[in-house]
Amino acid sequence: MTDATIPAPKPASPRRQGSFDHIVYVLKDNPVTMLAFAMFAVLIFAAVLGPALAPYDPLATDAAIALQPPSAAHWFGTDNLGRDVFSRTIVATRLDLLISVAAVAISFVVGSALGAAAGYWGGWLDVALSRVLDTIMAFPLFVLAMGIVAALGNTIENIVYATAIINVPFYARLVRAEVNIRREAGFALAARLAGNSDIRVLALHIFPNALPPMMVQVSLNLGWAILNAAGLSFIGLGVRPPTAEWGIMVAEGANFIVSGEWWLAIFPGLCLMFAVFTFNLLGDGLRDMVDPRRRT
């Protein structure tokens, strides 16, 4: 082949280098964020390897060892059917994360598209969207999710849809506001003067600048979505026994708390807290990282 096809060895693009340095800088500067990332890694690890890590079959019952307190053999004890609480808690990570990630992804995409269009073009689209959002927000959101799941049918997919629907207004409103204040910003006007079409201005100039608050929202929302999904299964919606899921495990364990078998409910509850806490910490950490003004 000719020389022309071989790209000259290029140094790492300065921008990438800058971002990487910036991430390292922020992490060094902020040990809490580093901790959040470590916690996040633990969660991912448990979600990916879940079943392989579990010492017992999470569904295997054994009446002989029912309701045993935590021990060396069963770190988190056993439940009323003799199942290993530790194995069940670990295995549940994947399901809980999947539900919340899927829900948040749907609402992020749908909310961003609707909000950006409404914020940029305004007009009837904006009016219609805000009417719909107002109506969704007029319901206490968890209650609306209950209603949706009850109406659509009691399945895991419907939990995801319900959680996505109640989250859409947050994204749509946030993006709408962020796009709206930047629509007439100097750099957006300048981009139009530079010959960019509206879609390009919106997608390449305005939207990326709305991303920092969005990332924070995504992170906080993931935590909230997990809480929601767990809450729904706590009241018996979505996930059905004997599937291992944190919310349902706390619900089952709650029946034994008054008689002192605390480990049934406490361990899955703590894991749930851990996950939500991780996403909340991560949200605050991301705020620093994606903000270009903090780069030096």
Binding site: T135, L144, A150, G153, G223
Partner: protein, 332 residues
């Protein structure tokens, strides 16, 4: 005028709850006719429910039913849904309002203190509470509180309902046990009701404290760094005056706005807390109905919660316009 603004929202709420009924999986008529239905009884139910009519017609009929207060019959109790809800609503309201009072009473001063003393122990406490608070699943907090205060220490009564069975309920006036017992002059029952109430209210309050404290702190910080605070200080006003008459009133605006969101969370979390503490409110009624696939009851509950929330938001709007003179001028 504010009431007029709420009308489209109420219409939207009714429309959504109507759509939810129509989205029922399978044939709603078969559903409402019950398990032992024959084809004839299903057809009869269909006609009775108006399901053979066109959608707009059905919607009008639905609205008409609502106006007459007809939310349908509960399958599991056999009572009209409206009666069930009105009977249980005071219990839910008593719990929710107590929790909100507790959380505002703690979170707002905490946020103000944290903002005025950044870096102090109050600030750190506030930060821990805020981050931990939003991470706490209410149902889990409830379970832990029961374990600690009922099983371990025995300070709290058994988490079953509003009043221990050894006490006799005071005559119903408002439906709020604390108020009714006080009206009745029955101190013992009052104390018993309070003991039952404390744990669930605390559980809810812990959950709602975080967003309120977070917003109060942020709003106070931004108000304190505004230019007009500098003017007030440069004019020699006392720290107290600057803090309350100038900073705090301005900081209240975003806090009041956040309260709307907090109410939304509270009403949702209410359902979970009622289940944990076997609290006989509309939330636990809805949960039982969900388990029993009692459809009309769930719909009635969703609608009732939404209307309650719309009413609360109306109150918030009015509070907001009391504080902020700029509202209302724009629409003139």
């Amino acid at each position: 005028m504010r009431l007029a603004q709420a009308i489209p929202v109420v219409l939207g709420v009714v429309l959504v709850s109507f759509l939810l009924t129509r989205a029922l999986p399978g044939d709603p008529a078969a559903y409402f006719a019950g398990d032992a239905a024959t084809p004839e009884s299903i057809a009869a139910t269909r006609a009775k429910l108006g399901l053979d009519k066109s959608m707009p017609e059905q919607f009008l009929r639905y609205c008409g039913d609502l106006l007459r207060g007809d939310l349908g019959q509960s399958l599991s109790t056999g009572q009209p849904v409206l009666d069930e809800l009105t009977r249980r609503l005071p219990a839910s309201l008593e719990l929710t309002l107590t929790a909100l009072l507790i959380s505002c009473g703690i979170a707002v001063p905490l946020g103000v203190l944290a903002a005025t003393r950044p870096g102090s122990w109050v600030d750190h406490l506030c930060r821990v509470l805020v981050t931990a608070g939003v991470s706490l699943p209410t149902f889990f907090t409830g379970v832990v509180l029961i374990y600690v205060f009922y099983y371990l220490t025995g300070w709290a009564p058994s988490p079953l309902g509003r009043l221990d069975f050894i006490y006799i309920e005071p005559p119903t006036v408002t439906g709020f046990l604390l108020i009714d017992a006080a009206l009745d002059g029955d101190g013992e029952t009052w104390a018993a009701a309070l003991r039952q109430l404390i744990l669930p209210a605390l559980t809810l309050a812990l959950f709602t404290m975080a967003p309120i404290a977070r917003m109060t702190r942020a709003a106070m910080l931004s108000a304190l760094s505004s230019d007009f605070i500098r003017t007030a200080r440069a004019a020699g006003l006392t720290s107290r005056k600057v803090l309350f008459a100038y900073a705090f009133r301005n900081a209240l605006l975003p806090v009041v706005t956040t309260l709307g969101m907090v109410f939304s969370f509270t009403l949702g979390a209410n359902v979970l807390v009622e289940k944990v503490f076997a609290w006989p409110g509309i939330g636990s009624f809805a949960v039982e109905a969900l388990v029993a696939s009692d459809y009309a009851a769930v719909q009635g509950f969703v609608l009732c919660m939404a209307l309650l929330f719309v009413a609360l938001n109306l109150v918030i709007d009015m509070a907001y316009s009391l504080i902020d003179p700029r509202i209302g001028f724009d629409s003139k």
